[in-house]
Symmetry: C2
Subunit: 215 residues, 2 copies
DNA sequence: GACGATTTGGACAATGCTGTCTAGAAAAAT
DNA sequence: ATTTTTCTAGACAGCATTGTCCAAATCGTC
């Protein structure tokens, strides 16, 4: 037995886990670039620097591999969103600039980064084919994000910083405004530079505050 | 020669054209459902009620067929958007309800209808692989839509119905707000019923007017 | 250094798809 | 009615891909 006490039965140590990760990363890239049907295991193996057999050893199946990719991506993306959400300006010094900073982070770290783009593309491409798989994402992702963000806005309103009648709708519209200037570029895979992310965020926040700010 | 004088060289009459259309429709469905790589000619032929050879006769190639599909879809969608744009409320009776009506039409006839969903999906799936093809869409579609809509808003502002400092940004944000509540459902392929389209539009317009309406 | 587990690279059958080709049926044009 | 064109259905070669199998090489551990 090559197993170590501290690591459970099915997981031999060292490079094993490292390879599993590179395979997952390579698979993410290839699936996103080529789509599920267009991706082939040899590409993934080559891009992971691993033999084809190893891919099969780790993930068993093209479909299982795809599912693993989506799960990993969803988890990372959700974690990122909540990490950013944790820095929401609950006691803002300057509401506009604090909210803008928050929006910039949301764009940069969650929506326009590679995980965000990848996940978005996989959902758009294969969402219909794997309804159960992405139903999970929907509840854990947008579902919880919206209510969490809505709660933050409600608190701001309660503290007198905003005038809202429906925090839930406001939360969605906040996200919609943030994406308004970027979604076409995102769909075509353009690179979004820091400057565009900032100006998109600041325009969004300005309008948001025109609608819901205290005057 | 079986050609008629009134019809150019390459286009024999009757059912020929009809079949070309059914092939294009079937191809649109199949490409959207399965992605480019996942689609196969036999499916398309079967769904069009036509033999495989006929597909090749009409469009020559899987790739040429795909390009024809995208072109047709882009043209129809753009035409639809400009038709809707032509009914923009330039002399509004009741700004809020007129804008809402406009937004509902935009959702129902351009964005959430089957052409809109198909085009969106193809762009998301294959946009990277055919940059030139979709660059055309971008200029003719979103590009012109934005400036046209911005011009309408600018006129409304000039007539004293809105308070805008940047009609261009306002136009994009208007579209962003309209989609804010729908994009997740769209990505997962849900059916958007009339009621949801209306409430999304009316929420969007209410917020838009809170930001840019005259008070 | 010896052991067990993992990895490699290559071969392999099975399958599915593209695009071509054919001969005959069907449809349109004359 | 005849002729020309398009359509069908199926066969076909060529190719790519999936997933399995195996012997040899490699790696980590004892």
């Amino acid at each position: 037995m090559a197993f170590t006490d501290t690591i459970p039965d099915n997981c031999p140590p060292r490079t094993h886990a490292a390879k599993r990760v590179s395979i997952l990363e390579a698979a993410t890239d290839v699936f996103c670039r080529e789509g599920y049907a267009g991706a082939n295991i040899d590409m993934i193996a080559a891009e992971a620097g691993v033999s084809r057999q190893t891919v099969y050893n780790h993930h068993g199946d093209k479909e299982k591999l795809f599912i693993a990719v989506v799960r990993a991506l969803t988890e990372r993306t959700n974690a990122g969103i909540f990490a950013t959400l944790a820095r929401f300006p609950d006691q803002p010094q300057d509401l506009e600039s604090d909210l803008t900073e928050f929006a910039v982070r949301l764009n940069r770290n969650c929506i326009c980064n590679s995980d965000g783009k990848h996940l978005r593309k996989l959902i758009e491409m294969e969402g219909q084919r794997y309804p159960e798989l992405f139903a999970g994402w929907r509840e854990e992702g947008p579902g919880k994000t919206w209510t969490a963000l809505a709660a933050r806005f409600a608190r701001l309103a309660h503290a007198g910083h905003l005038e809202l009648d429906n925090p839930d709708i406001a939360a969605r519209q906040f996200l919609g405004l943030i994406n308004a200037e970027l979604d076409v570029s995102m769909a075509l895979g353009d690179k979004i530079d820091e400057h565009r992310a900032r100006s998109a965020a600041s325009n969004a926040v300005r309008t948001f505050l025109r609608a819901f700010g205290r005057h």
